[in-house]
């Protein structure tokens, strides 16, 4: 050991495009992983000085404070409209939105679909954890039938609340999106695959190809009332059946 001390090589470090601020996510939550992967991607593509973070309402509301990039806080659901406004007046900027399922697929579904349909040259990161995390665990548009939440205490009843929305599949029907994929982070292999997908989605924008969406099926240990390990098992045994992983559109 001591013989090697003089030749230590740094193989892992905090991404340069992150500030020193601590994430405010709960322990075991996949949000932290995604945020870090995005920062790493920004480093790799060397776009820190032209990236703009469009932060949502929800657990990542202060996301702009974590990046050494320009950032803006968007009204609940409106991130894709805000991103459109920025990109249209300054196409040189690299804009990404980071939105939860309530933000993107409930209150903001119109803005989300129409930005995709216009083929806005932006990158949308969609965190699908099947629940409203920040407000305390209410039913989301992506909550599974039978899955419990504070506003469906006996589990989602399809007769009253319908079925989980598969947003990636919905916009895969459109002609404009360039890259649409659904990813997950519940094991090492999937983290690597998801990282590649996020990088590809940013690359599409850098190369001017158009709209891309990375839906990431994630967990919420706090509001699912499970340990992080249990959430990963639940994702694999139940959630991926409803939200199958993989690329849906790849017109790159």
């Amino acid at each position: 050991m001591s013989a090697n001390m003089g030749h230590m090589v740094k193989v892992f470090e905090r991404p340069r495009s992150l500030t020193d601020a601590q994430f405010s996510y709960c322990p075991g939550c996949h949000h932290g992983l995604v945020t870090r992967i995005i920062a790493h991607t920004i480093d790799e593509l060397d776009i820190q000085d032209r990236a703009v973070v469009v932060a949502p309402v929800g657990c990542a509301v202060i996301m702009y404070e974590w990046f050494r990039c320009d950032g803006i806080q968007a009204a609940h659901g409106r991130a894709c409209a805000v991103a459109t406004g920025i990109k249209r007046v300054n196409p040189n900027l690299i804009i990404f939105t980071y939105q939860g399922d309530g933000d993107l697929a409930a209150i903001g579904i119109a803005e989300s679909i129409h930005a995709a349909n216009r083929g806005e040259n932006i990158t949308v990161i969609f965190i699908n954890n099947q629940i409203y995390g920040m407000t305390g665990g209410q039913m989301a548009p992506t909550t599974l039938v039978g899955q419990r939440a504070t506003s469906c205490p006996d589990g989602r009843d399809a007769r009253l609340a319908g079925y989980p929305i598969r947003f990636a599949e919905m916009i895969a029907q459109l002609d404009a999106p360039v890259y649409v994929t659904r990813q997950a982070l519940c094991d090492q292999k999937r983290i690597i695959t998801a990282s590649r997908a996020i990088k590809k989605a940013f690359q599409c924008q850098v190369e001017g190809k158009g709209y891309s969406l990375v839906e990431i099926v994630t967990n919420c240990p706090t509001n699912w009332r499970m340990s992080p390990v249990q959430t990963n098992n639940y994702l694999m045994s139940e959630v991926f059946k409803e939200f199958p992983l993989g690329d849906l559109v790849d017109r790159e």
Binding site: T19, Q48, D49, R50, A51, V52, V54, A55, V61, I62, Y64, E65, F67, R68, C69, D70, G71, I72, Q73, A74, A75, R78, A81, V82, A83, T84, G85, I86, K87, R88, V89, N90, N92, L93, A110, E111, I113, H114, R118
Partner: protein, 345 residues
């Protein structure tokens, strides 16, 4: 030129390079004019999926440092209120034109002035103000659209031009100013342009710590006080010897001017006080006027909204009757004169 076309062309000349809108009568020509002419100056035009999306596109484009505008009418302006609150909370400039129509609800497409409360007293949530400008003619609309962009940038807030369907649809000869040299506009070092050679810029209205939000709001309030001191604008016609003064803004002021000519020819000492800035409202001037006249008659195409501000200003120093028409009906000069006669002893 129609008022809608004139306001659109003036905005482009004033350096507007981003317009986002949604079709609604009676402002459709404004959106169509922008669609036809914005590309030629290299500006952004998007027909948005809703007024909510349009105002949030404005929020993004304004944050990126560009002079930005949207327009709509009653029901669409209601949808924009969320975004207007966010613009105010994030200290972003933006110009919003309301070509007002009859309400509430779907109402109708006739001209009305029933959006005064919404424009001047809030409309969206939280402590904020827009500067609200009320043009009475297309020439005034041209002048006030330019002023709107300048004030929005100067004070970093949304500014509304509160016109109506009459002004938007009618045609008048008008002189459009020379296009502004964009390089002459003051820099916006706060804008989102990429964190190159500087630290990150953040645009947000979110301050979780009450002390921080209180501090930000107090700063904004002191800007509002400065605006109240420095930006009040109004126009007076024949008020110096008047015993009765009409207070009216926008289209109603234009019609009242004719009523004043008719009254004067009949020996009635009638004057007009036309608030140009509806916020900040010319309380002080009206307070002074109220001690020089017996009666201040407020005339609106509403059930009586601005009249509340007039009565605040007059503070019982004069009689303050109200005359209004509802539902998109427009009072004629004769109607106004008839109302004036009821108050002349």
């Amino acid at each position: 030129m129609t008022g809608n076309d004139a306001m659109a062309e003036t905005a482009i000349c004033a350096g507007c390079r981003a317009y986002f809108g949604y079709p609604i009568t009676p402002q459709n020509e404004l959106l169509e004019y922008m669609a036809a002419h914005m590309p030629a100056v290299g500006g952004a035009f998007v027909q948005a999926e809703s007024e909510i999306a349009a105002i949030n596109m404005c929020y993004g484009a304004s944050a990126a440092g560009v002079r930005t505008m949207t327009s709509s009418s009653g029901p669409g302006i209601s949808l924009k209120m969320e975004g207007i609150s966010y613009l105010a909370g994030a200290d972003l400039p933006c110009v919003i034109i309301n070509v007002a129509r009859g309400g509430p609800g779907l109402g109708n497409i006739a001209p009305a002035q029933a959006d005064y409360f919404q424009a001047t007293k809030g409309g969206g949530h939280g402590d904020y103000h827009m500067i609200v400008l009320g043009p009475a003619t297309i020439a005034e609309a041209v002048e006030l659209v330019i002023l709107a962009f300048d004030l929005a940038d100067k004070y970093r807030l949304p500014v509304m031009v509160l016109s109506d369907g009459m002004l938007g649809q009618m045609m008048e000869p008008v002189t459009i100013p020379e296009p502004l040299d964009l390089a002459s506009l003051p820099a916006k070092p706060w804008a989102l342009t990429g964190a190159r050679g500087r630290g990150p810029n953040y645009i947000t209205s979110y301050f979780i710590d009450p002390n921080d939000l209180s501090q930000m709001s107090s700063k904004r309030e002191s800007r509002y006080r400065k605006i109240e001191e420095e930006e009040v604008r109004y126009r007076e016609t024949e008020t110096s010897d008047a015993s009765i003064v009409i207070v009216a803004y926008g289209t109603m002021a234009r019609i009242a001017r004719t009523a004043i000519r008719m009254a004067r020819s009949q020996g009635i000492k009638l004057g007009l006080m036309q608030p140009i800035t509806l916020w900040p409202f010319p309380y002080a001037r009206l307070h002074t006027l109220s001690s020089q006249v017996t009666t201040i008659l407020t005339v609106e195409m509403s059930a009586g909204q601005m009249v509340e501000d007039v009565r605040l200003a007059a503070a019982d120093r004069a009689e303050t009757p109200f005359y209004g028409e509802l539902g998109g009906l427009v009072p004629t000069p004769k109607d106004i004169l008839g109302e004036v006669r009821r108050h002349v002893s």
